[in-house]
Protein backbone atom coordinates (compact mmCIF):
# COMPACT_ATOMS: atom_id res chain seq x y z
CA UNK A 1 0.00 0.00 0.00
CA UNK A 2 2.99 2.30 0.54
CA UNK A 3 3.42 2.05 -3.21
CA UNK A 4 0.16 3.87 -3.97
CA UNK A 5 1.47 7.40 -3.68
CA UNK A 6 4.57 7.05 -5.90
CA UNK A 7 2.53 5.11 -8.45
CA UNK A 8 -0.21 7.73 -8.49
CA UNK A 9 2.32 10.55 -8.78
CA UNK A 10 3.91 8.83 -11.73
CA UNK A 11 0.50 8.53 -13.40
CA UNK A 12 -0.19 12.22 -12.84
CA UNK A 13 3.19 13.08 -14.32
CA UNK A 14 2.44 10.99 -17.41
CA UNK A 15 -0.97 12.66 -17.78
CA UNK A 16 0.64 16.08 -17.49
CA UNK A 17 3.24 15.25 -20.13
CA UNK A 18 0.63 13.82 -22.47
CA UNK A 19 -1.30 17.12 -22.20
CA UNK A 20 -4.26 15.19 -20.83
CA UNK A 21 -4.52 17.45 -17.82
CA UNK A 22 -4.40 20.60 -19.93
CA UNK A 23 -7.00 19.31 -22.39
CA UNK A 24 -9.44 18.23 -19.69
CA UNK A 25 -9.10 21.45 -17.72
CA UNK A 26 -9.49 23.59 -20.84
CA UNK A 27 -12.59 21.65 -21.88
CA UNK A 28 -14.21 21.94 -18.46
CA UNK A 29 -13.46 25.63 -18.04
CA UNK A 30 -14.57 26.59 -21.55
CA UNK A 31 -17.84 24.67 -21.34
CA UNK A 32 -18.56 25.94 -17.83
CA UNK A 33 -17.93 29.55 -18.85
CA UNK A 34 -20.14 29.17 -21.93
CA UNK A 35 -22.95 27.75 -19.84
CA UNK A 36 -22.48 30.40 -17.15
CA UNK A 37 -22.76 33.07 -19.82
CA UNK A 38 -25.87 31.44 -21.19
CA UNK A 39 -27.26 31.19 -17.65
CA UNK A 40 -27.17 34.97 -17.43
CA UNK A 41 -29.90 35.25 -20.00
CA UNK A 42 -33.38 35.66 -18.53
CA UNK A 43 -34.84 32.24 -17.77
CA UNK A 44 -38.44 33.04 -17.27
CA UNK A 45 -38.46 30.74 -14.23
CA UNK A 46 -39.29 32.90 -11.26
CA UNK A 47 -37.55 32.65 -7.88
CA UNK A 48 -34.39 30.92 -9.07
CA UNK A 49 -31.02 32.64 -8.95
CA UNK A 50 -28.73 32.61 -11.93
CA UNK A 51 -26.14 30.27 -10.44
CA UNK A 52 -28.83 27.66 -9.87
CA UNK A 53 -29.79 27.98 -13.50
CA UNK A 54 -26.17 27.53 -14.46
CA UNK A 55 -25.90 24.49 -12.17
CA UNK A 56 -28.84 22.93 -13.97
CA UNK A 57 -27.16 23.33 -17.35
CA UNK A 58 -23.78 22.22 -15.89
CA UNK A 59 -25.52 19.06 -14.70
CA UNK A 60 -26.70 18.42 -18.22
CA UNK A 61 -23.17 18.98 -19.49
CA UNK A 62 -21.46 16.88 -16.82
CA UNK A 63 -23.66 13.90 -17.59
CA UNK A 64 -22.08 13.73 -21.04
CA UNK A 65 -18.62 15.10 -20.45
CA UNK A 66 -17.55 13.48 -17.16
CA UNK A 67 -18.18 9.87 -18.27
CA UNK A 68 -16.47 10.59 -21.60
CA UNK A 69 -13.38 12.08 -19.99
CA UNK A 70 -13.24 9.28 -17.41
CA UNK A 71 -13.50 6.57 -20.06
CA UNK A 72 -10.83 8.27 -22.15
CA UNK A 73 -8.46 8.38 -19.18
CA UNK A 74 -9.29 4.82 -18.17
CA UNK A 75 -9.28 2.78 -21.35
CA UNK A 76 -5.48 2.77 -21.73
CA UNK A 77 -4.72 2.10 -18.07
CA UNK A 78 -4.18 -1.67 -18.32
CA UNK A 79 -4.19 -2.34 -22.06
CA UNK A 80 -1.45 0.25 -22.59
CA UNK A 81 0.79 -1.39 -20.00
CA UNK A 82 0.16 -4.82 -21.49
CA UNK A 83 1.15 -3.53 -24.91
CA UNK A 84 4.30 -1.80 -23.67
CA UNK A 85 5.27 -4.87 -21.65
CA UNK A 86 5.49 -2.87 -18.44
CA UNK A 87 2.62 -4.70 -16.75
CA UNK A 88 4.61 -7.93 -16.40
CA UNK A 89 7.50 -5.95 -15.01
CA UNK A 90 5.30 -4.03 -12.57
CA UNK A 91 3.71 -7.26 -11.35
CA UNK A 92 7.14 -8.76 -10.69
CA UNK A 93 7.57 -6.02 -8.07
CA UNK A 94 6.05 -6.48 -4.63
CA UNK A 95 2.95 -4.52 -5.68
CA UNK A 96 -0.54 -5.98 -5.75
CA UNK A 97 -2.94 -5.54 -8.63
CA UNK A 98 -5.40 -3.77 -6.33
CA UNK A 99 -2.72 -1.26 -5.34
CA UNK A 100 -1.83 -0.66 -8.96
CA UNK A 101 -5.44 -0.03 -9.93
CA UNK A 102 -6.13 2.13 -6.88
CA UNK A 103 -3.11 4.28 -7.69
CA UNK A 104 -4.39 4.87 -11.20
CA UNK A 105 -7.84 5.70 -9.85
CA UNK A 106 -6.34 8.13 -7.38
CA UNK A 107 -4.35 9.92 -10.06
CA UNK A 108 -7.14 10.09 -12.61
CA UNK A 109 -9.73 11.12 -10.04
CA UNK A 110 -7.39 13.84 -8.81
CA UNK A 111 -7.03 15.20 -12.33
CA UNK A 112 -10.78 15.10 -12.82
CA UNK A 113 -11.35 16.86 -9.49
CA UNK A 114 -8.95 19.62 -10.47
CA UNK A 115 -10.62 20.10 -13.85
CA UNK A 116 -14.12 20.11 -12.35
CA UNK A 117 -13.08 22.50 -9.57
CA UNK A 118 -11.59 24.93 -12.07
CA UNK A 119 -14.52 24.60 -14.46
CA UNK A 120 -17.29 24.87 -11.90
CA UNK A 121 -15.28 27.49 -10.00
CA UNK A 122 -15.13 29.74 -13.01
CA UNK A 123 -18.88 29.31 -13.50
CA UNK A 124 -19.40 30.30 -9.86
CA UNK A 125 -17.27 33.41 -10.29
CA UNK A 126 -19.34 34.48 -13.26
CA UNK A 127 -22.49 33.79 -11.25
CA UNK A 128 -21.36 35.84 -8.24
CA UNK A 129 -20.18 38.68 -10.44
CA UNK A 130 -23.55 39.08 -12.09
CA UNK A 131 -26.11 38.11 -9.49
CA UNK A 132 -26.07 39.11 -5.83
CA UNK A 133 -28.37 36.21 -4.90
CA UNK A 134 -26.07 33.62 -6.49
CA UNK A 135 -25.04 32.37 -3.04
CA UNK A 136 -28.30 30.45 -3.03
CA UNK A 137 -26.97 28.26 -5.81
CA UNK A 138 -23.63 27.53 -4.16
CA UNK A 139 -24.73 24.43 -2.31
CA UNK A 140 -26.19 23.02 -5.52
CA UNK A 141 -22.86 23.67 -7.24
CA UNK A 142 -20.92 21.91 -4.47
CA UNK A 143 -23.31 18.98 -4.66
CA UNK A 144 -22.82 18.89 -8.39
CA UNK A 145 -19.04 18.84 -7.85
CA UNK A 146 -18.84 15.86 -5.54
CA UNK A 147 -21.55 13.90 -7.29
CA UNK A 148 -19.75 14.49 -10.61
CA UNK A 149 -16.64 13.05 -8.96
CA UNK A 150 -18.60 9.96 -7.97
CA UNK A 151 -19.86 9.72 -11.55
CA UNK A 152 -16.29 10.10 -12.77
CA UNK A 153 -15.02 7.41 -10.39
CA UNK A 154 -17.71 5.07 -11.67
CA UNK A 155 -16.75 5.56 -15.30
CA UNK A 156 -13.04 5.39 -14.50
CA UNK A 157 -13.73 1.97 -13.01
CA UNK A 158 -15.71 0.98 -16.09
CA UNK A 159 -12.83 2.28 -18.24
CA UNK A 160 -10.32 0.11 -16.35
CA UNK A 161 -12.63 -2.87 -16.71
CA UNK A 162 -12.87 -2.25 -20.45
CA UNK A 163 -9.12 -1.88 -20.61
CA UNK A 164 -8.60 -5.21 -18.84
CA UNK A 165 -11.16 -7.08 -20.92
CA UNK A 166 -10.05 -5.67 -24.27
CA UNK A 167 -6.37 -6.30 -23.52
CA UNK A 168 -5.09 -3.97 -26.28
CA UNK A 169 -5.43 -0.17 -26.47
CA UNK A 170 -7.11 -0.15 -29.91
CA UNK A 171 -10.04 -2.43 -29.09
CA UNK A 172 -10.25 -0.83 -25.63
CA UNK A 173 -10.74 2.63 -27.15
CA UNK A 174 -13.51 1.32 -29.39
CA UNK A 175 -15.19 -0.46 -26.52
CA UNK A 176 -14.98 2.67 -24.33
CA UNK A 177 -16.74 4.81 -26.92
CA UNK A 178 -19.31 2.04 -27.34
CA UNK A 179 -20.03 1.91 -23.61
CA UNK A 180 -20.35 5.69 -23.52
CA UNK A 181 -22.82 5.69 -26.40
CA UNK A 182 -24.87 2.89 -24.87
CA UNK A 183 -24.99 4.12 -21.27
CA UNK A 184 -25.21 7.86 -21.91
CA UNK A 185 -27.08 8.21 -25.19
CA UNK A 186 -28.86 5.02 -26.21
CA UNK A 187 -30.05 4.01 -22.75
CA UNK A 188 -32.24 7.08 -22.32
CA UNK A 189 -33.53 6.92 -25.87
CA UNK A 190 -34.58 3.31 -25.44
CA UNK A 191 -36.19 4.07 -22.08
CA UNK A 192 -38.15 6.98 -23.53
CA UNK A 193 -39.20 4.91 -26.51
CA UNK A 194 -40.35 2.17 -24.11
CA UNK A 195 -42.35 4.70 -22.08
CA UNK A 196 -44.03 6.03 -25.22
CA UNK A 197 -44.81 2.51 -26.45
CA UNK A 198 -46.03 1.47 -23.00
CA UNK A 199 -48.47 4.40 -22.93
CA UNK A 200 -48.78 4.64 -19.16
CA UNK A 201 -48.81 0.89 -18.48
CA UNK A 202 -46.88 -1.23 -15.98
CA UNK A 203 -43.47 -0.37 -17.38
CA UNK A 204 -43.94 3.34 -16.83
CA UNK A 205 -45.40 2.98 -13.35
CA UNK A 206 -43.18 0.21 -11.90
CA UNK A 207 -40.01 -0.41 -13.84
CA UNK A 208 -39.10 2.96 -15.34
CA UNK A 209 -37.74 4.42 -12.09
CA UNK A 210 -35.59 1.36 -11.41
CA UNK A 211 -34.10 1.49 -14.86
CA UNK A 212 -33.24 5.14 -14.34
CA UNK A 213 -31.65 4.42 -10.95
CA UNK A 214 -29.68 1.53 -12.38
CA UNK A 215 -27.83 3.78 -14.80
CA UNK A 216 -25.22 5.89 -12.97
CA UNK A 217 -25.58 8.81 -15.38
CA UNK A 218 -29.34 8.93 -14.96
CA UNK A 219 -29.02 8.54 -11.21
CA UNK A 220 -26.57 11.46 -11.23
CA UNK A 221 -29.07 13.60 -13.12
CA UNK A 222 -31.96 12.57 -10.89
CA UNK A 223 -29.95 13.31 -7.77
CA UNK A 224 -28.89 16.79 -8.81
CA UNK A 225 -32.22 17.87 -10.22
CA UNK A 226 -34.19 16.24 -7.43
CA UNK A 227 -32.05 17.57 -4.59
CA UNK A 228 -32.04 21.12 -5.90
CA UNK A 229 -35.74 21.15 -6.63
CA UNK A 230 -34.78 22.35 -10.06
CA UNK A 231 -36.73 19.65 -11.80
CA UNK A 232 -38.61 22.43 -13.47
CA UNK A 233 -35.43 23.26 -15.34
CA UNK A 234 -34.81 19.70 -16.38
CA UNK A 235 -36.00 18.18 -19.58
CA UNK A 236 -36.37 14.65 -20.85
CA UNK A 237 -35.35 11.97 -18.41
CA UNK A 238 -34.39 14.58 -15.86
CA UNK A 239 -38.08 15.41 -15.61
CA UNK A 240 -38.53 12.20 -13.69
CA UNK A 241 -36.60 13.80 -10.86
CA UNK A 242 -39.86 14.93 -9.41
CA UNK A 243 -41.05 11.42 -8.59
CA UNK A 244 -37.92 9.55 -7.50
CA UNK A 245 -36.52 10.42 -4.05
CA UNK A 246 -33.02 11.95 -4.36
CA UNK A 247 -31.77 9.62 -1.61
CA UNK A 248 -32.25 6.61 -3.86
CA UNK A 249 -30.41 8.34 -6.64
CA UNK A 250 -27.64 9.17 -4.17
CA UNK A 251 -27.37 5.53 -3.09
CA UNK A 252 -27.04 4.54 -6.72
CA UNK A 253 -24.27 7.02 -7.55
CA UNK A 254 -22.47 6.23 -4.31
CA UNK A 255 -22.51 2.47 -4.88
CA UNK A 256 -21.61 2.52 -8.56
CA UNK A 257 -17.95 3.58 -8.13
CA UNK A 258 -17.32 0.64 -5.79
CA UNK A 259 -19.13 -1.80 -8.04
CA UNK A 260 -17.26 -0.54 -11.09
CA UNK A 261 -13.91 -0.73 -9.31
CA UNK A 262 -14.53 -4.27 -8.07
CA UNK A 263 -15.61 -5.25 -11.57
CA UNK A 264 -12.43 -3.74 -13.00
CA UNK A 265 -10.31 -5.49 -10.38
CA UNK A 266 -11.94 -8.83 -11.14
CA UNK A 267 -11.25 -8.34 -14.86
CA UNK A 268 -7.70 -7.15 -14.13
CA UNK A 269 -7.00 -10.27 -12.05
CA UNK A 270 -7.69 -12.34 -15.17
CA UNK A 271 -5.17 -10.41 -17.28
CA UNK A 272 -2.03 -12.42 -17.99
CA UNK A 273 0.81 -10.02 -18.76
Amino acid sequence: MKAILPLAMSEVRIALRNRWVAIIIATMVLFSLALAAAGNAPTGVAGIDRLSVTVASLTGLAVYLVPLVALLMGFDAIAGEVERGTLGLMLSYPVSRATLLLAKLMAHLGILALALALGFGSAAIVGFATDASALAGLSALLRLFWSALLLGACFLGLGYGISAIAGRPGPAAGLAIGVWLVLIVLYDLVLLAAVVADDGGRFTSDLFSWFLLANPADAFRLFNFGASGAAALASGVGGAAGVIPPLWALISIALWPFAAFLLALAAFRKVVP
Binding site: S10, R84, T86, P94
Partner: protein, 297 residues
Protein backbone atom coordinates in the same frame (compact mmCIF):
# COMPACT_ATOMS: atom_id res chain seq x y z
CA UNK B 1 17.88 -24.93 -0.53
CA UNK B 2 18.14 -23.96 -4.20
CA UNK B 3 17.05 -20.43 -5.19
CA UNK B 4 14.79 -21.82 -7.88
CA UNK B 5 13.55 -25.34 -8.24
CA UNK B 6 10.94 -26.56 -10.62
CA UNK B 7 9.84 -29.98 -11.67
CA UNK B 8 7.31 -31.35 -14.11
CA UNK B 9 6.30 -27.92 -15.33
CA UNK B 10 4.05 -28.05 -18.39
CA UNK B 11 2.15 -25.26 -20.09
CA UNK B 12 -0.07 -25.22 -23.15
CA UNK B 13 -1.61 -22.32 -25.03
CA UNK B 14 -4.84 -23.28 -26.74
CA UNK B 15 -3.75 -26.89 -27.14
CA UNK B 16 -0.27 -25.95 -28.32
CA UNK B 17 2.35 -27.17 -25.87
CA UNK B 18 4.81 -24.42 -24.95
CA UNK B 19 6.56 -26.27 -22.10
CA UNK B 20 6.71 -30.01 -21.49
CA UNK B 21 7.68 -31.49 -18.10
CA UNK B 22 10.44 -28.97 -17.50
CA UNK B 23 12.69 -29.50 -14.48
CA UNK B 24 15.33 -27.02 -13.42
CA UNK B 25 17.18 -25.96 -10.31
CA UNK B 26 19.32 -22.90 -9.82
CA UNK B 27 21.52 -22.49 -6.76
CA UNK B 28 22.55 -19.23 -5.17
CA UNK B 29 25.48 -17.65 -7.00
CA UNK B 30 24.88 -19.66 -10.17
CA UNK B 31 24.63 -18.04 -13.60
CA UNK B 32 22.42 -20.10 -15.86
CA UNK B 33 21.87 -19.41 -19.54
CA UNK B 34 18.61 -20.44 -21.15
CA UNK B 35 19.02 -21.05 -24.85
CA UNK B 36 16.55 -21.97 -27.55
CA UNK B 37 15.15 -21.01 -30.90
CA UNK B 38 12.30 -18.52 -31.31
CA UNK B 39 9.24 -20.00 -29.69
CA UNK B 40 11.20 -22.61 -27.73
CA UNK B 41 9.50 -21.50 -24.51
CA UNK B 42 12.18 -19.39 -22.83
CA UNK B 43 9.98 -16.40 -22.04
CA UNK B 44 7.13 -18.67 -21.01
CA UNK B 45 9.38 -20.50 -18.54
CA UNK B 46 10.59 -17.20 -17.10
CA UNK B 47 7.06 -15.88 -16.65
CA UNK B 48 6.14 -19.07 -14.83
CA UNK B 49 9.13 -18.70 -12.49
CA UNK B 50 8.04 -15.12 -11.81
CA UNK B 51 4.48 -16.23 -11.11
CA UNK B 52 3.12 -14.07 -13.92
CA UNK B 53 1.79 -17.10 -15.73
CA UNK B 54 0.22 -20.10 -14.00
CA UNK B 55 1.57 -23.46 -15.23
CA UNK B 56 -0.84 -26.22 -16.19
CA UNK B 57 1.04 -28.62 -13.94
CA UNK B 58 4.26 -28.91 -11.98
CA UNK B 59 5.88 -27.62 -8.80
CA UNK B 60 7.78 -24.38 -8.49
CA UNK B 61 9.60 -22.94 -5.51
CA UNK B 62 11.33 -19.58 -5.69
CA UNK B 63 13.38 -18.43 -2.69
CA UNK B 64 11.62 -21.13 -0.67
CA UNK B 65 8.22 -19.58 -1.41
CA UNK B 66 5.56 -20.15 -4.06
CA UNK B 67 6.31 -18.42 -7.38
CA UNK B 68 4.77 -14.96 -7.53
CA UNK B 69 4.12 -14.77 -3.78
CA UNK B 70 4.98 -11.57 -1.97
CA UNK B 71 8.01 -13.25 -0.39
CA UNK B 72 9.31 -14.41 -3.77
CA UNK B 73 8.70 -11.08 -5.47
CA UNK B 74 10.54 -9.21 -2.77
CA UNK B 75 13.78 -10.97 -3.76
CA UNK B 76 13.35 -11.37 -7.51
CA UNK B 77 14.26 -8.91 -10.25
CA UNK B 78 12.99 -9.26 -13.80
CA UNK B 79 13.88 -7.81 -17.15
CA UNK B 80 11.17 -8.61 -19.69
CA UNK B 81 11.97 -8.90 -23.37
CA UNK B 82 10.97 -5.87 -25.46
CA UNK B 83 9.92 -3.77 -22.52
CA UNK B 84 8.96 -0.22 -23.50
CA UNK B 85 8.98 2.18 -20.59
CA UNK B 86 6.63 5.11 -20.80
CA UNK B 87 8.14 7.47 -23.38
CA UNK B 88 6.98 10.55 -21.48
CA UNK B 89 9.09 9.77 -18.37
CA UNK B 90 12.81 10.26 -17.99
CA UNK B 91 15.03 7.36 -16.94
CA UNK B 92 15.58 9.08 -13.59
CA UNK B 93 11.86 9.39 -12.93
CA UNK B 94 11.24 5.82 -14.01
CA UNK B 95 14.01 4.38 -11.84
CA UNK B 96 13.00 6.53 -8.87
CA UNK B 97 9.52 5.01 -9.08
CA UNK B 98 10.89 1.47 -9.20
CA UNK B 99 13.17 2.22 -6.25
CA UNK B 100 10.22 3.42 -4.19
CA UNK B 101 8.27 0.28 -5.09
CA UNK B 102 11.08 -1.79 -3.59
CA UNK B 103 11.17 0.42 -0.53
CA UNK B 104 14.58 1.87 -1.46
CA UNK B 105 15.70 5.47 -1.42
CA UNK B 106 15.04 7.24 -4.74
CA UNK B 107 18.46 8.90 -4.33
CA UNK B 108 20.02 5.71 -5.68
CA UNK B 109 18.57 6.36 -9.12
CA UNK B 110 21.48 8.41 -10.42
CA UNK B 111 24.21 5.97 -9.27
CA UNK B 112 22.22 3.03 -10.66
CA UNK B 113 21.91 4.68 -14.04
CA UNK B 114 25.59 5.56 -13.95
CA UNK B 115 26.34 1.88 -13.35
CA UNK B 116 24.66 0.96 -16.65
CA UNK B 117 26.28 3.89 -18.44
CA UNK B 118 23.26 6.15 -18.72
CA UNK B 119 24.39 9.18 -16.70
CA UNK B 120 24.32 11.69 -19.52
CA UNK B 121 20.84 10.91 -20.79
CA UNK B 122 19.27 10.12 -17.41
CA UNK B 123 17.22 13.32 -17.32
CA UNK B 124 15.93 13.01 -20.86
CA UNK B 125 12.62 11.43 -21.80
CA UNK B 126 12.86 7.74 -22.56
CA UNK B 127 10.99 8.40 -25.80
CA UNK B 128 14.16 9.99 -27.15
CA UNK B 129 16.41 7.02 -26.29
CA UNK B 130 18.05 4.58 -28.66
CA UNK B 131 17.21 0.89 -28.41
CA UNK B 132 20.29 0.05 -26.37
CA UNK B 133 19.70 2.98 -24.03
CA UNK B 134 16.17 1.76 -23.36
CA UNK B 135 17.52 -1.72 -22.65
CA UNK B 136 19.87 -0.19 -20.08
CA UNK B 137 16.97 1.42 -18.24
CA UNK B 138 15.56 -2.09 -17.94
CA UNK B 139 18.89 -3.39 -16.65
CA UNK B 140 19.13 -0.58 -14.11
CA UNK B 141 15.76 -1.46 -12.60
CA UNK B 142 16.76 -5.12 -12.39
CA UNK B 143 19.75 -4.19 -10.22
CA UNK B 144 17.64 -2.45 -7.56
CA UNK B 145 17.99 -3.62 -3.99
CA UNK B 146 20.31 -6.64 -4.12
CA UNK B 147 17.94 -9.15 -5.72
CA UNK B 148 18.60 -12.79 -4.81
CA UNK B 149 17.36 -13.97 -8.18
CA UNK B 150 17.58 -12.15 -11.50
CA UNK B 151 15.43 -13.33 -14.38
CA UNK B 152 16.65 -11.60 -17.51
CA UNK B 153 14.91 -12.21 -20.82
CA UNK B 154 17.37 -11.52 -23.64
CA UNK B 155 19.15 -8.87 -21.57
CA UNK B 156 21.84 -8.13 -24.13
CA UNK B 157 19.58 -7.65 -27.13
CA UNK B 158 20.27 -4.21 -28.55
CA UNK B 159 23.53 -3.78 -26.66
CA UNK B 160 26.78 -3.12 -28.50
CA UNK B 161 29.73 -5.47 -27.80
CA UNK B 162 31.36 -3.16 -25.27
CA UNK B 163 28.12 -2.72 -23.33
CA UNK B 164 27.58 -6.47 -23.44
CA UNK B 165 30.94 -6.99 -21.86
CA UNK B 166 30.17 -4.41 -19.17
CA UNK B 167 26.83 -6.07 -18.57
CA UNK B 168 28.38 -9.48 -17.97
CA UNK B 169 30.89 -7.89 -15.61
CA UNK B 170 27.99 -6.54 -13.56
CA UNK B 171 26.42 -10.02 -13.53
CA UNK B 172 29.67 -11.60 -12.34
CA UNK B 173 29.71 -9.25 -9.38
CA UNK B 174 26.09 -10.05 -8.51
CA UNK B 175 26.75 -13.79 -8.73
CA UNK B 176 29.81 -13.46 -6.49
CA UNK B 177 27.58 -11.74 -3.94
CA UNK B 178 25.32 -14.80 -4.05
CA UNK B 179 22.60 -13.86 -6.52
CA UNK B 180 21.23 -16.56 -8.79
CA UNK B 181 20.91 -15.49 -12.40
CA UNK B 182 18.78 -16.93 -15.18
CA UNK B 183 19.21 -15.25 -18.53
CA UNK B 184 18.03 -16.15 -21.99
CA UNK B 185 19.90 -15.75 -25.22
CA UNK B 186 20.02 -17.03 -28.76
CA UNK B 187 23.76 -17.54 -29.04
CA UNK B 188 25.76 -20.08 -27.10
CA UNK B 189 28.92 -18.29 -28.22
CA UNK B 190 27.81 -15.20 -26.30
CA UNK B 191 26.97 -16.84 -22.99
CA UNK B 192 29.43 -19.76 -22.95
CA UNK B 193 32.24 -17.93 -21.21
CA UNK B 194 30.04 -15.89 -18.90
CA UNK B 195 27.71 -18.47 -17.37
CA UNK B 196 28.15 -21.53 -15.19
CA UNK B 197 25.49 -23.70 -16.74
CA UNK B 198 23.63 -23.91 -19.99
CA UNK B 199 20.06 -25.07 -20.41
CA UNK B 200 18.89 -25.68 -23.95
CA UNK B 201 15.17 -25.69 -24.63
CA UNK B 202 13.64 -26.96 -27.81
CA UNK B 203 9.90 -26.94 -28.40
CA UNK B 204 9.30 -26.67 -24.70
CA UNK B 205 11.56 -29.55 -23.69
CA UNK B 206 14.87 -29.36 -21.85
CA UNK B 207 17.34 -30.88 -24.31
CA UNK B 208 20.44 -30.23 -22.24
CA UNK B 209 21.31 -28.88 -18.81
CA UNK B 210 25.04 -28.94 -18.24
CA UNK B 211 28.28 -27.01 -18.12
CA UNK B 212 29.89 -26.11 -21.41
CA UNK B 213 32.47 -28.88 -20.96
CA UNK B 214 29.70 -31.35 -20.21
CA UNK B 215 27.79 -30.29 -23.29
CA UNK B 216 30.90 -30.70 -25.41
CA UNK B 217 31.45 -34.17 -24.07
CA UNK B 218 27.86 -35.27 -24.43
CA UNK B 219 27.46 -33.87 -27.91
CA UNK B 220 30.59 -35.86 -28.95
CA UNK B 221 30.73 -33.92 -32.16
CA UNK B 222 33.50 -34.84 -34.63
CA UNK B 223 36.61 -32.78 -34.94
CA UNK B 224 37.29 -31.62 -38.47
CA UNK B 225 40.77 -31.90 -39.93
CA UNK B 226 41.56 -29.86 -43.00
CA UNK B 227 44.63 -30.82 -44.96
CA UNK B 228 46.18 -28.66 -47.62
CA UNK B 229 47.85 -31.15 -50.00
CA UNK B 230 50.06 -30.33 -52.98
CA UNK B 231 48.19 -29.92 -56.29
CA UNK B 232 49.46 -33.25 -57.64
CA UNK B 233 49.11 -35.23 -54.40
CA UNK B 234 45.57 -34.32 -53.26
CA UNK B 235 44.05 -37.45 -54.78
CA UNK B 236 46.58 -39.74 -53.18
CA UNK B 237 46.18 -38.13 -49.76
CA UNK B 238 42.42 -38.33 -49.97
CA UNK B 239 42.60 -41.94 -51.06
CA UNK B 240 44.91 -43.07 -48.31
CA UNK B 241 42.89 -41.31 -45.63
CA UNK B 242 39.55 -42.30 -47.15
CA UNK B 243 38.51 -38.64 -46.94
CA UNK B 244 36.56 -36.22 -49.08
CA UNK B 245 38.08 -33.50 -51.29
CA UNK B 246 37.36 -29.83 -51.75
CA UNK B 247 38.49 -27.25 -54.32
CA UNK B 248 41.51 -28.99 -55.77
CA UNK B 249 44.05 -29.18 -52.98
CA UNK B 250 41.97 -29.31 -49.79
CA UNK B 251 41.27 -32.66 -48.19
CA UNK B 252 38.75 -32.74 -45.34
CA UNK B 253 37.92 -35.41 -42.83
CA UNK B 254 35.81 -35.62 -39.66
CA UNK B 255 36.86 -37.82 -36.79
CA UNK B 256 35.57 -38.56 -33.31
CA UNK B 257 37.42 -36.90 -30.46
CA UNK B 258 39.12 -40.10 -29.27
CA UNK B 259 40.39 -40.99 -32.79
CA UNK B 260 41.94 -37.60 -33.31
CA UNK B 261 45.49 -38.53 -32.31
CA UNK B 262 45.50 -41.69 -34.44
CA UNK B 263 44.29 -39.81 -37.47
CA UNK B 264 46.88 -37.11 -36.98
CA UNK B 265 49.55 -39.80 -36.84
CA UNK B 266 48.25 -41.19 -40.16
CA UNK B 267 48.48 -37.73 -41.64
CA UNK B 268 51.92 -36.84 -40.39
CA UNK B 269 53.15 -40.14 -41.79
CA UNK B 270 52.49 -38.58 -45.19
CA UNK B 271 54.23 -35.35 -44.29
CA UNK B 272 56.02 -35.21 -47.63
CA UNK B 273 52.73 -34.96 -49.51
CA UNK B 274 51.25 -32.22 -47.37
CA UNK B 275 51.62 -28.47 -47.21
CA UNK B 276 49.66 -27.63 -44.11
CA UNK B 277 46.98 -28.90 -41.79
CA UNK B 278 44.32 -27.43 -39.53
CA UNK B 279 42.40 -29.06 -36.65
CA UNK B 280 38.99 -27.48 -36.06
CA UNK B 281 37.17 -28.51 -32.88
CA UNK B 282 33.34 -28.38 -32.94
CA UNK B 283 32.21 -24.77 -32.58
CA UNK B 284 29.82 -23.56 -29.93
CA UNK B 285 27.20 -23.04 -32.61
CA UNK B 286 27.64 -26.66 -33.70
CA UNK B 287 27.10 -27.85 -30.14
CA UNK B 288 24.04 -25.63 -29.74
CA UNK B 289 22.57 -26.83 -33.01
CA UNK B 290 23.22 -30.41 -32.03
CA UNK B 291 21.06 -30.12 -28.91
CA UNK B 292 18.42 -27.73 -30.14
CA UNK B 293 17.78 -29.66 -33.34
CA UNK B 294 17.54 -33.07 -31.77
CA UNK B 295 13.90 -32.66 -30.87
CA UNK B 296 12.88 -31.83 -34.39
CA UNK B 297 11.58 -34.79 -36.33
Amino acid sequence: MPTVSLSGVSKSFAGQEALHEVALTIEAGQRVALLGHNGAGKSTLMKIILGLLPPDSGDIRVLDAPAGSAAARAGVAYLPENVAFHPALSALEQIRLYLRLRGQSPDQAAPLLARVGLSDAAGRRIGTYSKGMRQRVGLAQALIGRPRLLVLDEPTSGLDPVSRHDFYTILDRLALEGAAILLSSHALSEVAARTDRIVILSRGRVMADDTLAGLRRRAALPTRIQIAARPDTADRVAGRLAAGRRNGVMVELDCAGEDKIDRLADITAMAALIDDLEVIPPSLDDIYNHFSRRAHP
